[in-house]
């Protein structure tokens, strides 16, 4: 009891204050995941439409490193667009994988969240580096 736990029928339970705080953290994390997943999805919806159009343009107008770099240099809008695209994808992909590894692989908990956060960092760093390489 002194340690903040109540014992009922031999089962140690957290006291109300502790349980409330824990539930609050879970609820806030879930709410943030929901908001970030939908917000990034809305950004990606616009980005992917533009990307699909630029894929068709790209394959018809030359797909060499020189041609790709030249297109990226055509306007400062392109590096800025792809930077936004990368950030949205880095947020969206790990959040999307989270329920999949939970439901299909039975993997959940802090370790999984840490790996997914690392994956987000890898996507962000890799994406920004790729954009910088093409725009540099």
């Amino acid at each position: 009891m002194a340690s903040g736990h109540a014992e009922t029928n031999g089962i140690v339970r957290a006291t109300n204050a502790q349980a409330d705080a824990q539930w609050g953290r879970h609820a806030r994390f879930a709410a943030w995941r929901f908001v970030l997943q939908r917000a990034s999805a809305a950004v990606l919806a616009v980005c992917v439409v533009i990307h699909l159009a630029s894929i068709i343009y790209g394959v018809r107008h030359g797909l060499t490193s020189q041609a790709i770099v030249a297109r990226m240099h055509a306007s400062a809008i392109w590096p800025a667009f792809y930077a936004v695209f990368v950030v949205a994808a880095a947020v969206h992909a790990p959040l999307g994988l989270r329920p999949i590894v939970d439901e299909w692989l039975g993997l959940r908990g802090r370790g999984v969240d840490a790996v997914l956060a690392l994956f987000a960092c890898v996507l962000l760093a890799g994406g920004v580096y790729a954009v910088a390489s093409l725009a540099g």
Binding site: R38, A41, A42, L44, A45, V48, V49, H51, L52, I55, I56, V59, R60, L63, T64, S65, Q66, I68, V69, V86, A89, A93, P94, G96, L97, I100, V122, L123, G126, G127, Y129, A130, S133, L134, G136
Partner: protein
């Protein structure tokens, strides 16, 4: 016991078109998430090692790679169309009578784009 009931419900639910939309959204999402790091790595070669990128781009001209590319493009288009459908369901309002039409439109747009890509690429 719980598993048995869940499986029985799953079997019934699998008859619904929205179940297949869910499967397509998940599988395409996994494929795209796995592809992204490779995509970024390949593109990052453009400045430092343009010859390596061009060798890779040449390698992608093989028919088998073209087919894989088309499947990836189909995955992207399907994930986009299915995702927009989900956003509409969640934020604009769910209408039972619209669902099959929304699914058909999403599938048609995704397949149509993949076909266009296959024809021009």
């Amino acid at each position: 016991m719980r598993t048995t009931t869940a499986r029985r419900n799953d079997f019934r639910a699998r008859g619904h078109a929205a179940y297949w939309a869910f499967v397509v959204h998940r599988v395409s999402g996994i494929a795209l998430a796995l592809f992204l790091p490779v995509h970024f790595f390949v593109l990052s070669q453009a400045l430092a090692r343009p010859a390596a990128l061009d060798r890779f781009l040449n390698w992608t001209q093989q028919p088998a790679v073209k087919v894989s590319e088309t499947l990836l493009v189909l995955a992207l288009a399907a994930h986009l169309a299915g995702g927009v459908r989900l956003l509409l369901v969640e934020f604009v309002g769910w209408r039972a009578e619209w669902q099959k039409s929304a699914l058909a439109i999403a599938a048609a747009l995704a397949c149509g784009y993949a076909l266009l890509f296959a024809l021009v690429a």
